[in-house]
């Protein structure tokens, strides 16, 4: 098991490096660089050629690209992600802060999606062709076709603007630092983030469960006289969860995309919104750092998936 985890971990490192190189190259080939930020139309009138060269020197822009990449990488390995002149903060500090906030939102969204999706999937599979199955499966189809930005604005309009059940945005009421207040702000965006994926988990769980319920070993368990509850929970569900766990792992990267929209709509101070703002204002240090952090986050989620997978399926551990 330890070796299995280590191997998975090592596979991910080259992927991380490739992603940062790709982002770096992309920034390189687009015209303009960080120096532009200091050279607005007003300031450029006061700058001499020497000033500009000095500025570029200070920002480390005169080195050839590979050297700059390696310097950046070296700094990152020492925990220094650079400084964002747009936000006025060190990038590392900013990323850590926002990552925590996004983690709260995505964690809650994932939790809601799993808590709703898996049991409903099992339930509809057990009651296949019933009215409840028909209704819930139909509902899941609508949920599946509902992108986060549409469910986001509709949810905001209905629950925050019209019904006024929850605040219309933000993560906390200023000066109020209670868990209840956070929860109050969290419930709507997290639920909306959960809609699409909950529907997806449910459909997948239902499909997988239906397949497993027909498996020979389920017939064996029934023929042994095991209680229906045990047949379903011990024999069928554990096997049916194997593909679902993989699928949940693969969805984590889509959660990041959903979070971009939800955070933008609800003013949630997370990675998604930070990244969006960085992209709009071409805040290169943040773009580089955020890509690395997002990639690491997704790969970490994949690692957790692989471990869970191995815990459920003994055959994986064996290989």
């Amino acid at each position: 098991m330890g070796r299995y985890i280590l191997r998975r971990l090592l596979i991910n490192i080259p992927i991380l490096i490739v992603i940062t190189i790709l982002v770096f190259v992309m920034i390189e080939i687009t015209p303009g660089d960080m120096a532009d930020y200091f050279m607005s139309e007003e300031t450029i009138a006061y700058m001499t050629e020497a000033d500009i060269i000095a500025l570029r020197e200070r920002l480390g822009l005169n080195d050839p690209p590979p050297i700059r990449y390696l310097k950046w990488m070296g700094n990152v390995l020492q925990g220094n992600f650079g400084f964002s002149f747009v936000e006025g903060y060190p990038v590392g500090e900013l990323l850590w802060e926002r990552l925590k906030n996004s983690g709260v939102l995505m964690g809650a969204g994932l939790l809601v999606a799993v808590i709703l999706g898996i049991p409903l999937g099992v339930f509809t599979a057990l009651k296949q062709y019933s009215l409840a199955d028909f209704f819930l499966t139909g509902l899941s189809f609508i949920g599946l076709s509902m992108p986060a930005f549409i469910s986001g604005i509709i949810g905001m309009y209905v629950f925050a603007v019209r019904l006024r059940w929850v605040p219309a945005g933000g993560m906390r009421t200023p000066m109020v630092n209670t868990f209840a207040n956070l929860l109050h702000h969290l419930v709507l965006p997290a639920s909306i983030l959960a809609i699409m994926h909950g529907a997806q988990f449910m459909r997948y769980q239902r499909f997988s469960m239906l397949e497993v319920l027909n498996a020979d070993y389920v017939v064996t368990a029934t023929a042994k006289g095991m209680r229906r509850r045990i047949v379903v929970a011990r024999h069928a569900l554990r096997n049916a969860l194997i593909p679902v766990v993989t699928m949940i792992g693969l969805t984590i990267s889509q959660f990041v995309a959903g979070a971009v929209f939800i955070e933008t709509i609800f003013g949630w101070p997370g990675m998604g919104r930070l990244y969006y703002r960085a992209v709009i204002s071409r805040d290169y240090p943040i773009i580089m750092g955020a890509n690395l952090v997002i990639a690491a986050f997704v790969l970490f989620a994949n690692l957790i998936t692989d471990i869970t997978y191995a815990l459920i399926d003994p055959r994986v551990r064996y290989e």
Partner: protein, 302 residues
């Protein structure tokens, strides 16, 4: 035993007739049995007619503003009301649909094309081409596509063509995986070995002999690619980095809802485009579902 009635005989003959139906006819018949998919196809056609025949249904200009009639609520001369610049929302929604649907289809065409080419090369030739394509696919499928699209979109700048190229150029990994898998299994079939024996060139084996056999599983993938592309455009435009104003698209019309005042007081500005987008996506997904069932050989008897 029991007497065989005439209806039973009839059932028996139709049951046996199924076996000699051509696969395409069989799939079509099974698709038509999927009631939701058929209804969706009709609704989708209606949306296309409304959008591409927009001048027939409205006489307003989608872009020209009329400041005298700003922020009109629905009713009267403007059935969906007007926006903050006095443009008719109904008209804009229809013209927006043209762009959104076109961008969606064009981007999907690019991603499917790329997906088929890369998948075919990887699956057919194996070895190094396969390794290169598979690794790139893996990385791209790990990373959230929206993040890449946002980054590229922000760097290359807004624009209709850019949006199509970005979406088309980044959405191909799913198709590639599917086609690669199909090619991997098909290339070991006898009929492919036979084409090798005949000395046919690879290009011909790929396009004439293997590719047609992957079309059935591809059908559903194509429809889902279109809905994904439409959603990508809408998402990018919603964030203000997609198709630039004043050209209306469903996405940039919904962008208005990011303004809390419009969200609250003028819901007619963003609701129609949201409704059209949702309906379109739902219809395409239902059709895709119907196609998948229709082409699924395992579903024959259930």
């Amino acid at each position: 035993m029991t007497m065989k009635t005439s209806t039973e005989t009839k059932q028996l003959t139709t049951y046996q007739d199924k076996k000699i139906e051509s696969p395409l006819k069989l799939a079509l018949r099974r698709f038509l049995q999927h009631r939701l998919a058929v209804v969706s196809a009709f609704v989708l056609v209606a949306i296309f007619v409304l959008c591409f025949g927009a001048p027939l249904f409205t006489s307003y200009d989608p872009i020209g503003m009329d400041l005298a009639v700003r922020n009109q609520a629905p009713g009267g001369a403007y059935i969906f009301g007007t926006d903050t610049l006095g443009r008719d929302i109904f008209t804009r929604t229809l013209y927006a649909g043209r762009i959104s649907l076109m961008v969606g289809m064009a981007a999907a065409a690019i991603s499917i094309g790329l997906g088929i080419i890369l998948g075919a090369i990887a699956g057919y030739f194996g070895k190094i081409p396969d390794m290169v394509v598979s690794r790139i696919t893996d990385v791209m499928m790990t990373f959230p596509p929206l993040i890449i699209m946002m980054t590229v979109a922000a760097f290359v700048g807004p624009g209709l063509m850019n949006v199509i190229l970005i979406i088309g150029g980044l959405r191909w990994p799913a198709t590639t995986r599917l086609v690669r898998g199909q090619f991997l299994s098909l290339k070991n079939y006898e009929f492919v070995h036979a084409t090798h024996a005949l000395g046919l060139p690879d290009r011909m084996i790929i396009t004439r002999h293997i590719l047609p056999n992957t079309l059935a599983p591809l059908m559903a993938n194509i429809t889902f690619a279109v809905s994904a592309a439409i959603l990508s455009e809408a998402g990018l435009s919603f964030l203000g980095i997609g198709v630039p104003l004043p050209t209306p698209t469903w996405g940039n019309m919904m962008e208005n809802a990011r303004n809390l005042i419009i969200l609250q007081n003028q819901p007619w500005i963003w609701m129609p485009s949201a409704a059209f987008t949702l309906t379109t996506i739902l219809c395409i997904n239902f059709i895709g579902d119907g196609l998948r069932d229709a082409f699924d050989p395992q579903q024959l008897f259930n």
